[in-house]
Symmetry: C3
């Protein structure tokens, strides 16, 4: 089964299939921010999408970061480092790319897992005595 | 098991594993077309690959669009909008990137699911009476 | 369950979930090499990561190649062709992108499967006679 979240005119913000969540490219809502601020804004949106799908950044598998100007690499990383859970680091690739809106400094896409489904006590197998 | 489709010298056009299909970067066969025409051409090729794998655009999970010139963003989107199934929108990220052949205006890669396998009536469990 | 390999300060070199391995963007250790040499260096690192995860290039599903200068496309492909197993070709997309370190000519990311787990003879079901 496929579940789509945060649907927009041309795309879904995230699509869930087989315990794997595929994120659309996320960009900052507030484009007046610098690269560090835009990255923090994006990571908040990713947290919200992950939460909506029933998962969290602890289950993030892989991200791709597109950065409009490599001069912003340090600023992007400051927001990344502040957000990153050091015990649950995803794979990451970062390259420069011009983005669809020139006001966007950073765009992040990625793939996350759903947390494992644990059996609840009342769902354990009945013991016949 | 891994199944490879549309194999070329250096790559497979698509690779199927665990009900998930990974597309190679698809480019237009007819490079004389403008960005809108090349996008429509690419989307037809993606439809054909999905069909060959036993799935369809309804099961497309995520795409990445690389566009050689952001001035072509509207043209690319016209072809996208004409093709998109509004009830089954994938996640999407679009960034500018120079492509391997300067005649290519657009390149699209993505990930799709296979449709769920439903039990056929003659495969249901036998009822013992 | 998620397993992280080759952890660095900001990312994991590879992340394993549900028999699928997500690679971080891999770059050459020896940046004095040309694009062909850097690509061979990267592919050796990918082989090592795949091996560490219990898989190999035969199970590589998809790669993305970012190349800093399209003039290096032929050189990158020479290393690719020398490394590629022609019976197990992944999906591939290659685009130009400026990389975080100007000495890097090539960066490669990708997704691989784990090999199928085959039952061992001593794990076959007991036959009652």
């Amino acid at each position: 089964m496929i579940t789509r979240l945060a649907e927009e005119e041309r795309l879904s913000g995230a699509v869930l299939h087989a315990a794997t969540l595929y994120l659309a490219g996320q960009v900052a809502d507030d484009t007046s921010l610098d690269a560090e601020g835009q990255t923090a804004d994006i990571l908040r949106q990713i947290d919200a999408l992950l939460d909506q799908a029933g998962t969290s950044k602890r289950y993030l598998l892989s991200v791709q970061i597109f950065i409009a100007d490599m001069a912003d690499f340090q600023g992007m990383n400051r927001a990344w480092d502040a957000w990153l859970d050091p015990n649950h680091k995803p794979a990451r690739a970062t390259v420069k790319a011009e983005l669809a809106n020139p006001a966007w400094r950073v765009e992040i896409t990625g793939v996350a897992a759903l947390p494992p489904v644990l059996p609840r006590p009342d769902q354990t197998e009945t013991q016949y005595a």
